[in-house]
Symmetry: C2
Subunit: 105 residues, 2 copies
């Protein structure tokens, strides 16, 4: 019981993070590999570029996403999942399956 | 790609549901078996009875929790997870583990 009580704030934080609109989907899209901002934006057309910027920044702050600058011509940046992000993404997969079976439109 | 786009609204709905403050924890507590309202309330002391009532009602509406009236003396009711709820609970377990490893207070 004590352990569970102690875990509460961490678990609650995680649920809140995952529950923020679009966060789960951004992680889900990045599971298929690094993406440029424009590719992320195209993958989730209903999400505005302004809100995508905000969500990606939050995910960077949580250490789930990293932005890497690629020394290419022209210089460009790519977003990818950290180890923490990949492990979270692996958990979100089963949620998609659950949604498919149980959630009705 | 088409399939993923179609799945989006369902997945998004699920993430939003799980992300609502306390929802995940209520499901987590019910994974250990049916609980009376007072037991649920005691298990999550930081959650007010008013908000617990609201969240449990939402979970009932989503078919995740059912309230059963027990023909005992005095008559009492118990909350338990449906099959849909149990399957969701099974997914939430790994999120707790992830939180324990990666989320800092």
């Amino acid at each position: 019981m004590e352990d569970r009580q102690e875990l509460h704030p961490k678990v609650e934080k995680s649920f809140e993070l995952i529950g923020k609109k679009w966060t789960g989907l951004i992680i889900y899209v990045l599971m298929s590999g690094p993406k440029r901002f424009s590719e992320l934006s195209e993958a989730i057309p209903a999400l505005s570029r302004r809100l995508l910027t905000e969500r990606v920044k939050e995910l960077e702050e949580h250490g789930i996403v990293i932005r890497e600058v690629i020394a290419d011509r022209p210089i460009r940046s790519e977003y990818s999942l950290t180890q923490k992000g990949i492990e979270l993404g692996n958990i979100l997969g089963p949620i998609s399956k659950w949604a498919e079976s149980w959630v009705h439109d």
